[in-house]
């Protein structure tokens, strides 16, 4: 018990000093081709809103996979919520992911279940009592503007609505970090802006938000921190930055 408390304190101290996400000289190579990430270092502090931009093959998706512990870095250190991803045991991965809300470009909803069941599923896996689930799910659906659609099948929803369901699912367990991988990639401009506004509100409520995107218009308009990647390295990291054009 004491040891666990000591570890918790150590992690809190690490987060205070290095942020909720901390990459130190991280490289990732696959068996074929050039390295996907080549010695990148990045710190994201609690409550920040960060855009990660770059062309295809720049290493954005690999970065997200490292943060989700889907991949392990070939060298360097990846810390998420004070935990060293290389030292994380397999059975500890679900616990880490429950602290990370994830939103994908293709929504990744369970299409054989309705809106309510998709969102409730995230609570069931952390064994929240049914009574609380019945209270929490309608509340979070109201937050994302889907209060009236909880019975609908996900396939009956528009792209924007599906992404809101994915957001509700990502948020219902109050994650410390929200990772959004191209959340507007499949949406029209209006829905894209609606989703971004929601992400901004979530960030204002205290959640750290990391958005990987190609959407120049949104990045330039929102005036947030922008990390630009190219061929596996970070070429720019600016507060209130803008989308940098690839001049290759």
């Amino acid at each position: 018990m004491r040891r666990r408390e000591a570890i918790r304190k150590q992690q809190a101290k690490f987060i205070e000093e290095n942020g909720v996400i901390c990459l130190d000289n991280v490289s990732k190579s696959y068996s074929t081709g050039s390295p996907a990430l080549n010695g990148i270092s990045l710190k994201v502090h609690r409550g920040e809103f960060v855009f990660i931009v770059g062309d295809s093959g720049s290493g954005k998706s690999t970065l997200i996979k490292l943060l989700l512990r889907e991949l392990v870095a070939s060298s360097g250190q990846v810390n998420v919520m004070g935990k060293d991803m290389a030292k994380l045991r397999r059975r500890e991965i679900p616990k880490l992911r429950r602290n990370l809300g994830v939103v994908f470009q293709d929504f990744r909803l369970l299409n054989d279940r309705n809106v309510y069941e998709n969102v409730a599923f995230a609570q069931r896996i952390i064994e929240v009592p049914g009574r609380e689930i019945r209270r929490n799910v309608p509340a979070i659906l109201a937050t994302v503007g889907l209060a009236g659609k909880y019975k609908a099948k996900t396939t009956q929803l528009s792209g924007g609505e599906q992404q809101r369901v994915a957001l509700a699912r990502a948020l219902i367990n109050n994650p410390s970090i929200l990772l959004a991988d191209e959340p507007t990639g499949n949406l029209d401009p209006k829905n894209s802006w609606d989703i971004m506004k929601l992400l901004e509100e979530i960030n204002e409520a205290g959640t750290t938000v990391v958005v990987v995107t190609h959407n120049r218009e949104i990045v330039n308009a929102m005036q947030k921190r922008v990390v630009t990647m190219k061929k596996g390295v970070i070429i720019s990291d600016e507060e209130e930055g803008a989308y940098i054009d690839d001049e290759d």
Partner: protein, 302 residues
């Protein structure tokens, strides 16, 4: 694990059956078809062996004694024969009984007319032991032994019948074992393949669950339960069908071939299904369990 999670898992296992109804139907049909073939074949082979065994039980060896043998010696010989492990039954036929049987067989209704020509029992030296075997393949060994007993004059037996039955029995044993093994292997392969394909197409679903922090157990349990349910239903259907047909065949045979009832002796349904039920349910549920658990495991590394 909380009790609510336990019930949720069970509920999801049942729901999965209906969510993926075409896959469930395909899997159940595959399992049913395989186990139906297995059940039919087993029923045929078991009955065939039963009939051959029945025929074997009627094979007997007749032992005749030397002239002037005493009753005490005949009794001693009887005891010696009864002590043999390959012997199932020994019946003593006196000379009088032998003559009566002869009359019945050869003279029939005109016995009185014919026996007038025999003032004394012509079979006075033909009292004998009729020896039934528990294992027909041991007939030669028994005959050699019988000839070695002092006081035995003649041993009558049919070497050809015994060796034919023994050979047929052995052949059925090998062939049926081979076919059952092949059928079971094909069933295991087809069923596990169906389960594998069914779960593989839901890889995306497993990935999503893992991305949002579900434990391996939480992801796996409903799939495993689903696999076991499919196996159970897939095994229960052919068992019911084979049971129904078996009863019908028995009734039909009893009605249409009553004159052959001494030849066509069928095993009772309880004997057949005493074996088939646990084997089919075990194969169905076992393959459903193993197939789903191994397939889901492949997709859990996300």
């Amino acid at each position: 694990m909380k009790i609510s999670t336990f019930f949720y898992t069970i509920q999801q296992g049942f729901k999965n059956l209906f969510r993926n109804k075409w896959y469930s139907l395909a899997s159940i049909a595959t399992i049913s078809a395989c186990l139906f073939l297995f059940g039919i074949f087993y029923a045929i082979v078991a009955n065939f062996q039963y009939m051959v065994k029945g025929a074997e039980e009627n094979i007997c060896v007749t032992v005749f004694f030397e002239d002037g043998i005493t009753d005490t010696r005949i009794e001693e010989i009887g005891k010696m024969i009864r002590n043999r492990t390959e012997v199932s039954e020994v019946v003593y036929i006196s000379a009088e009984e032998a003559w009566e049987d002869y009359q019945k067989i050869y003279f029939g209704d005109r016995a009185e007319e014919f026996i007038a020509g025999y003032p004394t029992n012509p079979l006075y030296r033909d009292m004998n032991y009729v020896v039934y075997l528990s294992d027909v393949s041991m007939q030669d060994t028994l005959v050699t032994y019988l000839y070695s007993i002092e006081g035995v004059r003649l041993v009558r037996y049919s070497a050809l019948t015994a060796s034919t039955l023994s050979g047929v029995n052995l052949l059925i044993g090998y062939v049926s074992l081979g076919i059952i093994v092949v059928l079971l292997a094909v069933s295991v392969f087809l069923i596990s393949n169906t389960v594998t394909i069914g779960i593989s197409v839901r890889r995306e679903e497993i990935n999503i669950m893992k991305y949002i922090g579900a434990t391996d157990f939480f992801v796996r349990a409903p799939f495993v339960l689903e696999g076991m349910l499919i196996g159970l239903i897939g095994a229960a259907i052919p068992l019911w069908v084979v049971h129904y047909f078996y009863g019908s065949v028995l009734d039909y045979a009893a009605e249409k071939f009553s004159m052959l009832s001494h030849l066509l002796k069928f095993l009772p349904a309880e004997t057949i299904f005493g074996f088939l039920t646990p084997v089919c349910l075990g194969v169905g549920v076992g393959i459903g369990f193993m197939g789903s658990i191994s397939t889901v495991r492949k997709h859990l590394h996300v």
